[in-house]
Structure formats: structure tokens, C-alpha cells
């Protein structure tokens, strides 16, 4: 029995909460202030911080776990962020300009103004919150894994997940968003150091280098393990990368964050620098590959344990504690953000639409009540299925990406062709398709076996996306007259009210 690792992790949890309380009682330090304050830091420091930002439980535990369990298929994680930045070069300046002109504060505002429909805002908010549940679930799963692995089996994983949920909830309620900024700095530095160190140390210490490591893996598991094929063929790679790249900025927090930029040239410059940060993921893959032969006996549902298990087998408990603490922070920071964002959206952009008299203070209070509720939903979700972290994130993406067609078309010059009926119908069909295919565990191959083998494994999110777009265009076309009539009536009303006043 060994509690050293757990003690180290617990110390970091207390430290993170302390940072949160301090940030709150002292001068408020929100994310915006922190980013502008970041300009005072040196270039290298800023580079390190931004590189650390891409690390969530998904990349740290999920990325290494997938490299361990599915080999080359994990490589899909590298390109999607890169391609999302390419798209952002054109997309974000357009979004930013519109949001500024029309004073939008959230993603929901954007859809409401673009399509002139408050209920479309409600729908997009609900879809975004539902998509965040699996995203949140994977953070909880990560927390559970960290606690149970570093307790050396003392705490069973279900109980560990409950502890994780309690930790995130307490953290959010005590510190709010203000705590995240400084905890994020600590997290970024720790995780970056952990990933780079382990990614270099393990392949060299255990195998004598990168190439020897991959050659040994090939000998043991065959060359197919390192490339795309089998359950994850090229069609899966292309569709999953595309799905995630298109959905990258559809999360309400990333979409909304783009509003805060000083000018549009920030986005254009980011598109050059940001792809390079993705390369750091290579180190995470190295950790997962190093675990393949070092800790070969993890079951199919335990792949996400790969990183911590190999660390536990290689290093002494206090170091295991440090790595576990880094992992804890990668789950705590995004987890708390997701919890807060989803609770706030539910109150502000859903409840608030039906009760416009809700005050700011009430919104904050109700959102706090909702935090444990959303957390419990995510916990239930985590316990219900044994999916790995990567599968959970892809599920979140297949839902949130359904907002992409409506957003993209609204930015095009001839946006007149799409209207609120089309957008609503498209999103509903897309989400329903994803939900149906996921719950019934179907894909194109099982539904339509006569389709060419090559496209059977296309991700269900892309199937939903295609139907979404078709329905959006057809319904928009069919309801064109209806929208035209509405426009005339509102114009007439306006004239009438002007005449009476």
C-alpha cells in the first residue's frame, strides 16, 4: 500500500483551490485580463503557455491511451487542430466583424442575430450543452483514472470518479472562472514538462531510441499497428479529422472567446503559429507507444490508463504523484470551464429567453445551482458506457459540429438563401442522425452493406453533417415564401406603429 502519490496529488488539489480562493478575494483576475497581462511576459514564456493550453485530459491521457490501444490511429489528433487553424484564417475574422457590429456576446447571440430568431438561439444552446456532456464526462473519467491508478488500486475507479466530480464541483463553486487563469498557468507548465520529459525519457530508457521502439512494436504487433487500417481505416481518419476540424470553433467557449480579440489580424497571425504547437502531441504519442510493450496487459477498456501505468511501473511514488497531479490539473481546468459554461448557457440563453426579466445576479445564482446537476449528468454518462476518452470526445464533436453548416452559410455573401426554418431543421436532423446511429451502434457499413467497403467507417458525425446540410438547403428553399411574408408583415407593423406614435 502506498499513499505517497495520492498525498502529492491531494496537495496539488488543495493548492489549486487555494489559488482559486486567493484570486477571488484579491483583485479579480479573469481570463481576459490574464491574456492581456500575458503580453508583459517574454516570448518564450508565452510560447510555453500557449503550447500547454492544448493539453487537456483528452490529449494527455486519451492521446497516449489511443496510441497504446490503437497505434497509428491516434495520429488523427495531430491534423485536426492544424486544419481548424487554416479555416480560422477566413472564418474567425468574418465572425468577429459580425459579432462586433451587432454586439453579440455569445454564440447564441450570433445565431439569434444572423437568423433573426430567438428560438434558434435556444436550440443551438441546447445542442452545445448536450455536446459538452460527453466532453465533460471524459474529464471525469480522466480524474477517476488518475485517482484510482495513483492510489495503486486502493480506491476503485467508480468511487474515484465520484471524488473527481466532487472536486470539480467544489472547485467551480469556490473559485469560479477567476481561479482558472492561474491554475491554468501551473497546469500548462507542469503538463508540458511532464509530456516532453516522459516522451523523450521512456523511448530511450526502455528501448534505446525512437526507431528501435517502433521496430520492436512492429515485430511484436505487426506493421499494421502503426498505420491506419482495420477498425480505423483511411475513411475513418479523413472523416474524423474533418469532423473535428469543422467543429473546433463550434464549442460555445471557443466561439465566444474569438469575440474578445483586439483585431482580426490576431486570427490571421495565429493561423501561422498555432499549427506548430500541435507538434508537442508527438511526445504524448511516444509515451503511449512506449507503454505498448512495457505494460502490455491493459484490457480494451483500460487503454486510457496506459500513461499512468507505465509511469507507475518506471518511477517512484512521489514522481507518480507529480505526473498524476499534472493530469489532475488537465482535467480540473477544462472540466471546471465546461461545467460553468454549460450551466451559464442553460440559465442565460435558454431560461432567460423564456423569462426575459431574469437579472444578472439571478443568472449567476441559478447557474451555481445547475453546476452539480450538469456534473451529475456527466457522471451518469461516464458510468453508463465504457467508452474510451477519444470516443467520448468524438461523440461530443459529432454533436457540436452540427452547428457548423448554419454558421458557415450565414457568413456567405448570399446568406439570404438560408433561413431560420432551414437552419433549425438541419440541426435537428443532424443531431437526430448522430443520436440514432450512436445509440443503435450503427454506421454506414451496418445500415447499407451494399455501399463500397472504403466508406463504411465514415464517422457518424459526418453522415449527420451531410444530411444536416441537405435538409438546411431544401427547407430554406421551401420556406422562402413564408419568410418573405413575415418580413413584409413586420415591415408593415413597423410602419403602422410609426404612424400611431
Amino acid at each position: 500500500m502506498n499513499v505517497v502519490a495520492l498525498l502529492v496529488i491531494f496537495a496539488f488539489l488543495v493548492f489549486a483551490i487555494y489559488l482559486g480562493i486567493r484570486a477571488r478575494s484579491g483583485r479579480d483576475m479573469d481570463l481576459e485580463q490574464w491574456t492581456t497581462g500575458g503580453r508583459g511576459f517574454g516570448t518564450l514564456f508565452v510560447f510555453l503557455l500557449m503550447a500547454g493550453e492544448i493539453y487537456t485530459t483528452f490529449t494527455f491521457l486519451g492521446g497516449s491511451g489511443w496510441a497504446y490501444g490503437n497505434g497509428g490511429a491516434a495520429l488523427y489528433i495531430l491534423p485536426y487542430g492544424t486544419l481548424a487553424y487554416v479555416l480560422s484564417y477566413w472564418m474567425l475574422p468574418a465572425v468577429w466583424k459580425y459579432a462586433k457590429e451587432h454586439r453579440c456576446h455569445s454564440q447564441s447571440d450570433f445565431f439569434v442575430k444572423k437568423y433573426n430568431s430567438p428560438y434558434l438561439g435556444v436550440l443551438t444552446s441546447l445542442v452545445a450543452v448536450i455536446a459538452m456532456v460527453p466532453y465533460l464526462a471524459l474529464q471525469l473519467k480522466g480524474l477517476g483514472i488518475i485517482v484510482s491508478t495513483t492510489s495503486y488500486g486502493l480506491i476503485p475507479s467508480t468511487m474515484a470518479m465520484v471524488i473527481g466530480l466532487v472536486a470539480v464541483t467544489v472547485y467551480v463553486i469556490i473559485s469560479g472562472i477567476h481561479g482558472s487563469a492561474w491554475t491554468a498557468v501551473v497546469k500548462d507548465i507542469m503538463v508540458l514538462a511532464a509530456a516532453v520529459f516522459l516522451g523523450l525519457y521512456l523511448p530511450f530508457a526502455l528501448y534505446g531510441g525512437f526507431q528501435p521502439m517502433f521496430e520492436e512494436i512492429t515485430q511484436e504487433k505487426g506493421a499494421e499497428f502503426l498505420i491506419f487500417g482495420g477498425d480505423y481505416p483511411i475513411a475513418w481518419f479523413i472523416s474524423s479529422v474533418l469532423l473535428s476540424a469543422l467543429g473546433f470553433y463550434m464549442w460555445p467557449h471557443t466561439f465566444g472567446a474569438s469575440f474578445t480579440a483586439q483585431s482580426t489580424s490576431v486570427f490571421r497571425r495565429n493561423a501561422i503559429i498555432m499549427p506548430l504547437y500541435q507538434l508537442i502531441l508527438l511526445f504524448v504519442f511516444f509515451i503511449g507507444f512506449a507503454a505498448v510493450l512495457a505494460v502490455p496487459n491493459l484490457g480494451e477498456e483500460e487503454v486510457d490508463l496506459a500513461l499512468l501505468t507505465v509511469v507507475r511501473e518506471t518511477f517512484s511514488p512521489w514522481f507518480v504523484g507529480l505526473i498524476g497531479a499534472a493530469g489532475l490539473l488537465t482535467a480540473l481546468v477544462p472540466g471546471s470551464l465546461l461545467l460553468m459554461v454549460s450551466a451559464t448557457i442553460l440559465v442565460k440563453n435558454v431560461y432567460g429567453v423564456f423569462r426575459p426579466s431574469t437579472t444578472e445576479a439571478q443568472i449567476v445564482r441559478y447557474a451555481k445551482y445547475l453546476v452539480p446537476v450538469v456534473g451529475l449528468a456527466a457522471l451518469f454518462f461516464t458510468l453508463a458506457g465504457g467508452q474510451s476518452i477519444v470516443i467520448l470526445l468524438l461523440l461530443g464533436y459529432s454533436l457540436v459540429t452540427q452547428l457548423f453548416p448554419a454558421m458557415l452559410i450565414s457568413l456567405l455573401p448570399n446568406a439570404m438563401n438560408a433561413n431560420k426554418y432551414g437552419a433549425t431543421a438541419g440541426i435537428l436532423v443532424g443531431v437526430a442522425t448522430v443520436a440514432y446511429l450512436t445509440i443503435t451502434e450503427n454506421n454506414l457499413g451496418t445500415l447499407f452493406p451494399w455501399l463500397p467497403q472504403g466508406i463504411h467507417a465514415i464517422h457518424v458525425g459526418i453522415v449527420g453533417l451531410i444530411l444536416n446540410l441537405i435538409v438546411l438547403l431544401i427547407v430554406s428553399l421551401a420556406t422562402r415564401g413564408l419568410v418573405e411574408r413575415e418580413r413584409v408583415t413586420t415591415a408593415e407593423e413597423r410602419v403602422r406603429t410609426r404612424a400611431t406614435t
Binding site: 497509428g72 495520429l75 495531430l78 491534423p79 492544424t82 486544419l83 487553424y85 487554416v86 484564417y89 477566413w90 531510441g209 525512437f210 526507431q211 517502433f214 512492429t218 506493421a223 502503426l226 498505420i227 491506419f228 487500417g229 483511411i234 481518419f237 479523413i238 479529422v241 474533418l242 483585431s263 482580426t264 489580424s265 490571421r268 497571425r269 493561423a271 501561422i272 503559429i273 499549427p275 506548430l276 500541435q278 507538434l279 508527438l282 504519442f285
Partner: protein, 66 residues
């Protein structure tokens, strides 16, 4: 639509079309299996391509905001 923007298609081609040719282990480059090297290389090339687009894009010369 400026012609230079067409360069933005290259990263998509590099990943999505390139994968059909690059989905292999041999030859190892820099110690990495070929597919891993290919994807990492395109991440770097994407950064270079976006740099070229930025440099040649008249919008970025117009000053900060139009």
C-alpha cells in the same frame, strides 16, 4: 476571392490525399514511421503555407483593421 487563398487547400490535400500514399511504416525518417513523419511534416508545412498567405494577403498590409 484572391488567387493566393487557393494555397489554403494544400494542407487538406497533404493530409487527405497524401494519406493514401503515406499510410506505411517504412522508410523510417528521423526515427519515426513514415506515416507519423508525413503527418508531422504537413503540420510544419501548414504553418509555412499560412505564413506565405499572410505575407501576400493585401489585408494584412492594410494595417490592423479594415
Amino acid at each position: 476571392m484572391k488567387t493566393i487563398y487557393l494555397l489554403g487547400v494544400l494542407p487538406f490535400l497533404g493530409f487527405f490525399v497524401g494519406i493514401f500514399f503515406a499510410n506505411r511504416v517504412e522508410p523510417y525518417i528521423l526515427g519515426l514511421p513514415f506515416i507519423m513523419f508525413w503527418i508531422a511534416m504537413w503540420v510544419v508545412l501548414t504553418s509555412v503555407i499560412m505564413g506565405i498567405i499572410y505575407k501576400l494577403d493585401p489585408i494584412s498590409r492594410e494595417g490592423d483593421d479594415e
